[in-house]
């Protein structure tokens, strides 16, 4: 059924395109203006945007400080059951995390801790790549998501991030702030199906 459908649809596309008056060839796609940022600006631009989209952030230097900050963030959020991704960095920062949880177990967690592969300064966006880490559900199901991001991995724009993405990942997730909806009278409500709180732990090399 579907093979016949495929041929018929493609035939219809070709026939209809051929039937149209020969239009001028499509205009060449103009190139976007490129704008490169100074590296020094990137962290402050990124944190400004994080705040604008309702995310929180903490800047730390080195893993010892990061582990301490992570504990404090989780304690402040009242998180007891914490799901962790399989990233080695997460394992080093938080030994008592829960890993390889079932779907049902995940739904009982208070927080999820993952790393992020990239940060996008212009939008305050985190990028999570499945090829690097099992972070898809830990960043989504619990009501709190803490993401550890190296400051060296902040890029200026969406375009810069797309150019660096590893498309061998079967799932790449871009996260900009907490889950939100405005479906009731366009009133913003944070934390619908995803996390209510997103906290970015910015890690500077010690």
């Amino acid at each position: 059924m579907t093979d016949a459908a495929r041929h018929q649809i493609l035939r219809s596309i070709r026939a209809n395109l051929a039937a149209s008056a020969p239009s001028a060839p499509a205009a060449p796609v103009p190139r976007p203006p490129s704008q490169r940022e100074q590296d020094a600006d990137l962290v402050s631009r990124f944190t400004t945007q994080l705040e604008a989209v309702g995310a929180q952030w903490t800047l730390v230097r080195g893993e010892v400080e990061a582990a301490r900050a992570l504990r404090r963030i989780l304690a402040d959020a009242g998180a007891k059951r914490v799901a962790g991704s399989d990233a080695p960095l997460v394992a080093r920062l938080l030994t008592e995390r829960l890993v390889d949880l079932s779907r049902d177990e995940l739904f009982t967690c208070d927080a999820g801790v993952t790393t992020a592969q990239w940060g996008i300064a212009e939008t305050g966006t985190l990028v999570l790549e499945s090829v690097r880490e099992r972070s898809r559900l830990a960043s989504l199901v619990p009501p709190v998501h803490v993401a550890v991001l190296s400051t060296a991995c902040i890029v200026a724009s969406l375009g810069d991030a797309l150019a660096r993405l590893d498309v061998t990942s079967h799932a790449i997730t871009l996260i900009t702030g907490p889950s939100r909806t405005s479906d009731i009278e366009l009133t913003l409500v944070v934390g619908v199906h995803g996390p209510q709180m997103v906290h970015v732990l910015l890690l500077e090399e010690a």
């Binding site: 493609l10 796609v29 969406l158 375009g159 079967h170 799932a171 199906h193």
Partner: protein, 459 residues
């Protein structure tokens, strides 16, 4: 219900008009503010349109490339000529897997093919998980806006609905209502056999599908169940991965007035390793359903450039007054008025090309610069051509006479002088039913000019 009756009912519904005024005004304000944050808005519109034009001119090639890339990544491709075929494919996949419940994220394409009814007929329960869609599913209604499906409902109406259907205490707090929906849907996510989503963009180069959202329900829908089915119109394909940038600049800003929506899921095939997260299988259903026909002429072809942002609905003076349901079609507003007749046939939607004042606000806000008024006029011409029978003889003669007079200044002056002298009002009852015909001035401007207005002006 006819369009006229629907529009009349909407106009006398004070609650509906209040909700519409509030929502469309807020959307338009947020859009303007978000536009200002884009580095080069006009340039982005031009680039996006050029990418769409290029794709559509070689749609067969890009669909072949997309299919090959997605299959290489492990996706299974299905082609559906029409709505019935798409429903049959999805229903068959669901039955093969013994699915009982299906979670769905927001997808206008699934509305277009009336998928929920088709699944229900097979004894499978589809559960809408986007909050707006969930509200209207509970209410037994259909979406009235492409982006905000429950835009027509007030908080009070939603509170009453939730109290009745979910058994919660009535609340006028949007956060409490949202929390109730979250809780009700969590269980459904945990037990669902299949997740069904739409597709915002499909990249030919990599086989990637991109889904934008704010709530996280599309992420859950595409991550938790073992099987993910994605339904997309054949026009959703774009050539290159890098092309996503410009569309991600345009779509959230135009749609919800956000710089970026909370989540973008870029899904390329299925997981590579059994321990990976995500579904075991991804089925992508490519839907024609009248789209390939639109390629036949440049004027109709541009309809396929639409990225479903909904900005034209919020800008339209007709939509802002009557809302989506009065259009009597899945796709409402200006884009619906050009899309629907082309999808389901002009004879079944002949009223829609006329559901516009041709003011052009839709064209001005369209992020991919679709000339919607031009398509409306083209479709009106088709309606007239189809009805070109005896009943239209008078109309055709009248317009021919009008054209003849208007093209000849001398004749025009003479006719007008005669009309003024005899106090003739043209027999245009059907026309003046909805519009005012201004009374003729005692003397025309040109006469006044000749009689001395010229001297006054210069003196």
């Amino acid at each position: 219900m006819t369009f006229e009756a629907g529009a009349r009912a909407a106009l006398s519904d004070a609650q509906l008009r209040g909700a519409l005024r509030h929502a469309t005004t807020l959307f338009a304000e947020k859009r303007r503010a978000a536009m200002a944050t884009a580095p080069d808005w006009e340039g982005a519109r031009d680039r996006a349109r050029a990418i769409k034009d290029e794709t559509l001119l070689h749609l067969d090639r890009y669909l072949d490339q997309f299919t090959a890339s997605a299959e290489r990544a492990g996706a299974r491709m299905h082609w559906a000529r029409d709505a019935g075929e798409a429903c049959a494919i999805i229903g068959w996949i669901a039955e093969q897997r013994g699915a009982r419940t299906i979670v769905k994220s927001k997808s206008m394409a699934t509305e277009e093919i009336h998928l929920n009814a088709a699944l229900a007929r097979r004894g499978i329960e589809p559960i809408e998980t986007d909050l707006g869609e969930y509200i209207i599913q509970l209410a037994g209604e259909t979406p009235s806006h492409i982006v905000a499906p429950a835009i027509h409902k007030t908080k009070g109406q939603i509170a009453a609905l939730f109290a009745e259907k979910l058994g919660i205490a009535p609340s006028d707090d949007a956060a409490a209502l949202t929390a109730a929906a979250r809780q009700a849907l969590r269980r459904r996510f945990a037990e669902a056999d299949i997740g069904i989503s739409g597709v915002n963009f499909a990249v030919a180069e990599t086989g990637t599908i991109l889904i934008l959202e704010n709530e996280g329900n599309a992420r859950l829908t595409t991550s938790l169940p073992r099987t993910h089915i994605a339904l997309m119109g054949i026009e959703k394909v774009i050539p290159r991965f890098a092309d996503l940038e410009v569309f991600l600049q345009l779509l959230p800003r135009s749609g919800t007035g956000q710089v970026l929506t909370a989540y973008q899921s870029l899904l390329t095939g299925v997981k590579r390793h059994p321990d990976d997260e995500g579904p075991d299988e991804l089925h992508i259903v490519l839907l024609d359903n009248g789209r390939s026909r639109m390629l036949a002429a440049p004027v109709t072809r541009q309809t396929l450039a639409c990225i479903r942002c909904g900005a034209c609905l919020n800008a339209c003076p007709v939509y802002r007054q009557i809302g989506g349901h009065a259009y009597g079609a899945v796709y409402a507003g200006p884009i619906g008025a050009i899309l629907t007749p082309q999808l389901i046939g002009i004879e079944r939607a002949a009223h829609l090309p006329y559901a516009s004042s041709l003011c052009g606000a839709c064209r001005d806000v369209c992020p991919v610069k679709i000339d919607i008024p031009a398509v409306l006029l083209h479709l009106r011409a088709e309606v007239v051509a189809q009805h070109a029978g005896k009943r239209r003889v008078f109309e055709r003669l009248a317009f021919r006479a009008y054209a003849a007079v208007m093209a000849r200044p001398r004749l025009y002056e003479r006719v007008m002088r005669l009309a003024r002298a005899l106090h003739i009002t043209p027999p245009l009852r059907a026309w003046t039913k909805w519009r005012d015909l201004r009374p003729l001035a005692p003397r025309s401007f040109r006469e006044e000019w000749r009689r001395g207005l010229k001297k006054e002006g210069t003196g």
